[in-house]
Amino acid sequence: MSSEQPKSEVHEEIEAKLSDYVEGSLPPAEVAVVEQHLAGCPACTDALAAVKETVNALSGLHKIQAPPHFDRDVAETIRRRSGGRFFGRRAFGDRVPLEVLAIVALALGLALYFFLRRSDTGSLRPFDRGSERPAEHGDRQDVAPRP
């Protein structure tokens, strides 16, 4: 804190630290500065008293409890709004988003397609007449003549 600061700025700076001061969370060096200022400043001393009183009053407020049967009421509301379909163990399809399921299904479909295409026994490979030509054994013709 500079001694050349205008008075109002000094007050503002001290006042901003009063909450931390009351809560005991101000570093020791700053505590000393605040206390030195408070010793000669009735306005900031009043502000400190105000903060203390307010914090004390607020901490004395009762903890309000939820009404009895609150949990049952909430569960009933959920059941009513969802037509009874909300509770209950979810199926796999509920847990995994539809988009993810669609992508996985597409990937599996494509993998199956390429597997079948590459497979020798796969039915999806186009019939290649050249490679299926029967082996020639000299001049023997075992193949029955076409009608």
């Binding site: 909450s19 502000a47 105000a50 009183e53 307010t54 914090v55 607020l58 949990d71 009421d73």
Partner: protein, 191 residues
């Protein structure tokens, strides 16, 4: 696996027992926050229900980056802000309608809104100071109100408050300090 992680997993499975356990554990804290923010038991109860319904519906979006209670408080704080705005709009509309009717003449029914009769439960809770404090809290700006309640009523740490409000610590502290001073002024006005 921690108890909280297990609870969240069971909530994701839409296990009704887990849901009841969660409500049982957190209902008082949520209700206290909604009550202090709104100042009305009926509104607080209705809003607390909405909070738990939201938790249950959006449990899949809870990533576990923060504590479950922090996430729950964040949902509660957001619901409170929205409800306060809604109630303010409704109040303004109601006031405008009353003004219109008043200008139209005094033929209609009595226009003065009756003061709510004191409820037995509030009387039991209530020292005069409690009522005055609650009224003063209700007059604070909503961003100040939430900080005062989280810090001075709920006694949460600054770390938790920053996670709930998504504000930096410096902002939380300076706003809280202004809120306390504002509250003090309002208290003096009421007393």
């Amino acid at each position: 696996m921690s108890r909280e992680t297990r609870l969240v997993r069971r909530l994701r499975d839409r296990d009704e027992r887990a849901f009841r356990e969660m409500v049982d554990e957190y209902s008082d804290r949520v209700f206290n926050l909604t009550y202090r923010m709104l100042g009305s038991r009926e509104e607080a109860e209705d809003l607390a229900q909405e909070v738990f319904i939201t938790v249950f519906k959006s449990i899949d979006t809870f990533r576990g980056d923060s504590k479950f209670s922090t996430w729950l408080y964040r949902i509660t704080a957001n619901h409170c802000k929205n409800r306060i705005k809604y109630l303010a709009r409704r109040h303004e509309r109601g006031k405008a309608e009353l003004d219109e009717r008043a200008e139209g003449g005094a033929d209609g029914p009595s226009l003065a809104a009756p003061r709510p009769s004191p409820r037995p439960d509030l009387q039991m809770e209530g020292a005069e100071m409690e009522r005055v404090l609650q009224e003063a809290i209700a007059e604070l700006e909503e961003d100040q109100r939430i900080l005062v309640i989280l810090r001075d009523v709920e006694d949460l740490s600054y770390e938790e408050i920053c996670a709930i409000t998504e504000l930096p610590e410096g902002t939380v502290k300076s706003r809280l300090h202004r809120a306390r001073l504002a509250l003090r002024k309002k208290l003096l006005k009421h007393v």
